[in-house]
Symmetry: C2
């Protein structure tokens, strides 16, 4: 069955050959885009949906989330915002709750958050393990994630779990744990930061994962300058995420590489860090992705629209740059060609806004603008 979406006031294709079209139409068939062009030339189809002048763009590609979790950290957030110290344990709290949860609870929680993201226009989502931190719990997290989301990343190296030694834990991550998750994940990631994993440990994890055929991602430069970006670029990681504190060398290295700089503005705001220097990265020629970092600790939002609005209002990205980074940029960070663009042959992930242009995403911050969503050609909202 083919569906034609007509009356598109503004169509953001992210296809360099097509660019942005006004007064356009799209045809979806068998889960793919099969035609895009002027509204007046739209072919007939089995089903016709007139969006009456609304803006259409590719569904969000959220390339960084941590949604296999249980438990609650509202009180920690509230204390942080009030400037009060909060001793109770951060990530370790979520690890405890996640380990204690049943498969059904973890699955339901993940599905609830993914559904929430879909209702806001997210059609391709990466999520990570990293709240298990034992062989059995990481394997379970990977399996549950793989049953629901597009892209799964192994983040056994999120934190050294309480009671473990760093070196022996890295041995475990690089050996038995990696073996236990490898069939369910496409990516491996490491939190390369003071207090998490140092340069040598991070490299060991990434090299072990690369040996198993996994693609690489790095959490780096979140809390201060450090080796994260350099390692990511040297090892050919698809993305280095956070990038809040960057040296000039880091920026140059990113600009000269295929490694995407993924910025996470909702996390920066929620942890009262400076916003990542997206403008500096773009001006240097680096590829920037925007993602939510949805997780219960440092960034509990699934709203890519909020990230886009923040990028435009406060990080000096243009609307066009921010929308590209939250769609095609995310796809680049996941090394995918089938999502993040609305060109013939791409996956039919279509986001219709209740607004005449994508500019309204930043012009109208906080207003829920998602009007309709197709994912793999199926209307899901």
């Amino acid at each position: 069955m083919a569906t034609v979406i007509t009356g598109i006031g503004e169509l953001t294709t992210n296809d360099p050959e097509t660019g942005k079209l006004n007064d356009a139409a799209l045809v979806i068939e068998d889960g793919k885009i099969v035609w895009a062009g002027p509204n007046a030339q739209a072919p007939a189809a089995d089903e016709r949906v007139d969006v009456e002048g609304r803006a259409v763009l590719p569904g969000w590609v959220d390339s960084h989330t941590h949604l296999v979790f249980a438990g609650d950290r509202t009180a920690e957030f509230e204390a942080r915002m009030a400037g009060k110290p909060y001793q109770a344990g951060g990530i370790a709290v979520t690890v405890g709750a996640t380990r204690a949860a049943s498969d059904a609870e973890l699955t339901a929680n993940l599905r609830r958050h993914v559904d929430e993201a879909v209702r806001q226009g997210t059609t391709c989502l990466e999520t990570k393990t990293g709240y298990g931190l034992s062989v059995v719990d990481e394997a379970r997290s990977a399996r549950i994630a793989a049953s629901i989301v597009d892209e799964v990343t192994f983040l056994g190296a999120h934190l050294v779990p309480p009671g473990a030694g760093a070196e022996s834990y890295v041995d475990l991550v690089c050996g038995e744990m990696l073996d236990a998750v490898v069939d369910d994940v496409r990516w491996a990631d490491v939190f390369c930061e003071t207090g998490a994993f140092d340069e040598d440990q991070s490299e060991r994890v990434l090299l072990a994962a690369r040996d198993r055929g996994l693609g690489l991602r790095v959490h780096g430069n979140q809390l201060g300058e450090g080796p994260g970006v350099r390692i990511a670029v040297e090892l050919g990681a698809a993305s280095v995420d956070h990038c809040t504190y960057l040296s000039d060398d880091d920026v140059e290295a990113l600009a000269a590489s295929e490694t995407v700089a993924t910025v996470l503005p909702a996390c920066d705001l929620s942890t009262r860090q400076p916003l990542a220097p997206a403008r500096r990265l773009l001006d240097a020629g680096a590829t920037v992705a925007l993602a939510s970092n949805a997780n219960p600790g440092s960034s509990y939002t699934t709203s890519m629209a909020f990230c886009v609005a923040t990028a435009v209002l406060q990080m000096r990205m243009t609307v066009e740059e921010a929308v590209w980074s939250a769609t095609a940029g995310g796809a680049r960070a996941l090394r995918r060609n089938d999502v993040g663009a609305l060109r013939v042959g791409a996956r039919a992930d279509v986001h219709v806004l209740d607004a005449p242009s994508v500019t309204h995403l930043a012009y109208r911050p906080g207003v829920p603008l998602t009007w309709a969503v197709w994912r793999c050609g199926e209307r899901v909202f």
Copy 2:
């Protein structure tokens, strides 16, 4: 008919005697709250709605909007965000389009934006004239606003219209224009700022309005320090709005007065101004309201949740302070006792969040959390 709302996980009453209740219930009858207390003691009623642990708070009181308008300023916003100069005329663009629009267009546009606000939990809304700037157009704007919203403010003194002289325009505002609107408005406002109306002109407008029995509001201290706050306090205005640039004397004057300081964070962000010093105002003892300033130029959002999230994440208001300022604070700025609190006798304006606590408004920025809304006892979302 009485409705009982049961299973309230967290009830924010804004009633100093009751405070915040967990595991609570509310009863609505004849448009008013008639009972609030522990869930286990909830009386029977004709209708029962179980909110299953969700948070309930008073509907937002948005005490500052400019929603009687026509026309589009998307390009101006986009250019401003891109750091490009944009010559085409700001407020005057909206004035031209508003004058050219039919009554039906203006009414439909206002209703559409009010409905959008209601779906996001706003149950009491102030709006202003100020895009007419002629006797006939201001009178028309006031009449249309009065047919739809709770509170209408006359803002003939928004800007000296192109072609007019400042002094003769102030004469018009204080005379014929005020006479033409006075039956449809409760408030008068003036934009006291370099480039708009100076101290003497602002005082003339406010005194003329006070003589006609109108309450006073002031736009002040938006673009720099100036006399706005002082005038507002001296003349007993209910609110002075923007307050982005305040001297120590301004803060002290506000703290010692009944005049509410209304901060407009979405406007500050959208115009790349610093965020208003809400923390400083609160620490000094001033009363702070949060409002959207919804208008097509400087702040085109109806999202009070975005304002609350920004206040907490970036202005160092606590969640409790931000929620109070966006509900009871707005009511204080409008000198109303019947809205902004959920106590017996208050208007049944009830906002149910799809979250267990109001903290999630800041913890989950951008995620649409409005789950149900009652306004004057009627379920409107």
